[in-house]
Chain length 400, copies 2
């Protein structure tokens, strides 16, 4: 059963090319598609009025997850872990499991590399991104309607021909701005921000761009500095809207460490989010620091330290779980897992099993891998709770 709405989308401003040869399809359950007539700045298309047809099937709505982070900040590793939790193949390029589709928001760049250079804006700048189209396509998918999504080609810096995205059970939109536009934000059932501190970002960039790509230290510094103003203006403020923030900081176990190899990672979980019950250590709502190393668990220098407690974060009440240090042996994680509660795992040891399964992924021996895996379990749980709550609700009562 689907309820359809037709409305005009005069406000769209985009230079994405969308094929004009579309035809209305029969709008029925599990068979929905929307046609976008777009205003093209490059004159390939005439300026036409557009109509959006939304067909909402109340019992099969797509659940939308937003994942925000700077480029090179582990989004893809996170997506691979999430895909694995949902039973998909994390080594697939498309990262699409049976249930999950991932959209990279770079595909909504309204300006390609040349266009950005001409106008003097970075990819971080909202003016280089088409939030109207982003909103309308995410909304369409959420409402069960397939869309022709543009593709931004990172190699050429140009926009490739679009691809068809059918509504999945879970849509993940990942990139720089999933929570920037309030309309897109309101579509999100859950949102995550991967927050890499400047010190760690710098250490990682040196590792990647200097060691692997032969860039100079100066050019790396310059490129980071150049991104800073726009990053702080447009990306960073999205933290306040995130239901979960994974914050990656230098270790505090080694004084004045700036190698960026040993990390202190904080999972900042917003309180009061429907279908999301924050993970805690030992005792919910209290403040705890825990050094598991000791008589039962042997850790090499500088050891491992956990923290848990309530905090205030960007004006929100949150619960923080923190891990500083790294595991010598990944199977020791079961010891830590056994002391964490509200993990939403399906069986004892599932977190450890997931981590061991992908021990080769970056961050598997520290808090980034641990918390990415845990957030994956929380998203699966959220999904299952939403599905269960819909099954309980009679269709006629959805607006009650």
């Amino acid at each position: 059963m689907a309820a359809c709405t037709v409305y005009s989308t005069q406000s769209l401003r985009t230079n994405i090319s969308i094929p004009t040869s579309s035809s209305k399809t029969h709008v029925g359950f599990n068979q929905k598609q929307v046609v976008f007539y777009t205003k093209s700045n490059n004159k390939r298309l005439n300026n036409t009025s557009r109509y959006l047809i939304t067909c909402k099937a109340s019992d099969s709505q797509t659940i939308v997850i937003g994942l925000a982070a700077d480029s090179g900040c582990g989004k893809s590793t996170f997506m691979r872990r999430l895909t694995s939790v949902f039973g998909g193949n994390p080594d697939s390029n498309t990262l699409i499991s049976d249930t999950t589709t991932v959209i990279c928001l770079d595909d909504y760049h309204s300006l390609d590399r040349t266009g950005r250079k001409e106008k003097g804006v970075t990819a971080l700048d909202p003016r280089a991104n088409d939030f109207d189209l982003m909103y309308e396509q995410v909304k369409a998918i959420k409402d069960g309607i397939s869309v022709q999504k543009p593709i931004y080609n990172h190699v050429t810096g140009l926009l490739d021909p679009p691809e068809l995205i059918k509504p999945p059970k879970i849509l993940v939109i990942e990139g720089l701005h999933p929570m920037y536009d309030s309309r897109v934000r309101d579509l999100l059932d859950f949102s995550i921000y991967l927050d890499i501190s400047n010190e760690v970002k710098f250490a990682w960039k040196i590792q990647r761009d200097m060691a692997e790509r032969g860039h100079s230290l100066e050019s790396i510094k310059a490129s980071i500095e150049a991104r800073k103003p726009d990053f702080e203006a447009y990306i960073d403020p999205q933290k306040q809207y995130a239901d979960a923030v994974i914050e990656v900081l230098p270790t505090q176990l080694i004084p004045d460490d700036n190698e960026g190899k040993i990390l202190r990672v904080r999972l900042i979980q917003k309180e009061g989010v429907k279908y999301f019950s924050p993970v805690y250590l030992f005792d919910e709502g209290s403040t705890i620091s825990w050094i598991p190393c000791g008589r039962k668990l042997t850790c090499s220098y500088p050891g491992i330290k956990f923290f848990y407690g309530p905090e205030s974060y960007k004006g929100n009440e949150v619960s923080v779980v923190e891990m500083d240090g790294q595991f010598d042996r990944l199977d020791e994680l079961i010891y830590v897992e056994s002391h964490l509660s509200n993990l939403s795992s399906k069986f004892y040891g599932e977190v450890t099993q997931q981590m061991l399964k992908h021990a080769d992924f970056p961050g598997s021996n520290n808090g980034t891998g641990l918390f990415q895996t845990i957030v994956g379990l929380k998203i699966r749980d959220l999904f299952e709770q939403i599905v269960a709550s819909r099954a309980e609700t009679p269709v006629g009562a959805t607006k009650a």
Copy 2:
């Protein structure tokens, strides 16, 4: 069944007066008494040879607990809590429950107040105490033999006529020197040291001696200073032998606090002691700090902070549980109790029940009361384990 040994005790040097009109009693099970013929320095008695008769009933040996502390350091409150745990009446002056007898080691002063003044020694000095008699009487009681214990009268500063002490199930010897003499120490099944830091001791003395007894601040300071050298030479070193130390320190929750009202109390538990399994918080063998105040437990300033972890103490491996701060409401203790393990309680909430029962005792709202109660439970458990292990061992196999 009892095995009796008769041996001479020529080495005894004591000036304690013991009645000479003693008669040998029938030595049988549960009916044993020993006669001490003492060499009296005050010439009231002739110098006589003495014989000690020990009758050891292998299945009813008294368990001996040593409790060391300076005077005015809460030993009597501790004894009242211990008596209560064993089901006795803590308001009885003799503090003797059905199972427990308490001997104050001041009764083994070999010099009375005048004698000490003449010789220029304090009560802390081993020369003012008769360790031979202490050893022999404790050994006799442990072996199931009644003794005529001297009584030191604190009011007169003289030695009163002795009293008969029958072997109880549990003998507690409390005072300045329960672990000073190695022979006495070896008789102890469990030992506790109440360690009040100088800052807190000073604050308490001011409270008691200045407010209640009208002493001047200078005289209090002078009396503490005068005791220090002997205290450090003879009392303090006993810590190293204690199975449990209750350390009372100023709070760390208020910077530079020296009021001594809010306390940080540490229960230092020796590892590897037979029949004694240290209490722990959340996770045995790891290091944890815990602020229970938060969303579930509301605490007023300065709050409550717990710590647990392995440490090294006077060359021994120990496990420490620490509580800083005080309870606003004693019934909130159940929340803390539920997170402590190895309490040796007989039912959930027994610690809280004991604390509530004696809420008027000093220290009931802080770690002194909490840890005294816990040590009481541990002693009861130790006693029951020893009794159970004896019941399991055939009588003929005691020396196997």
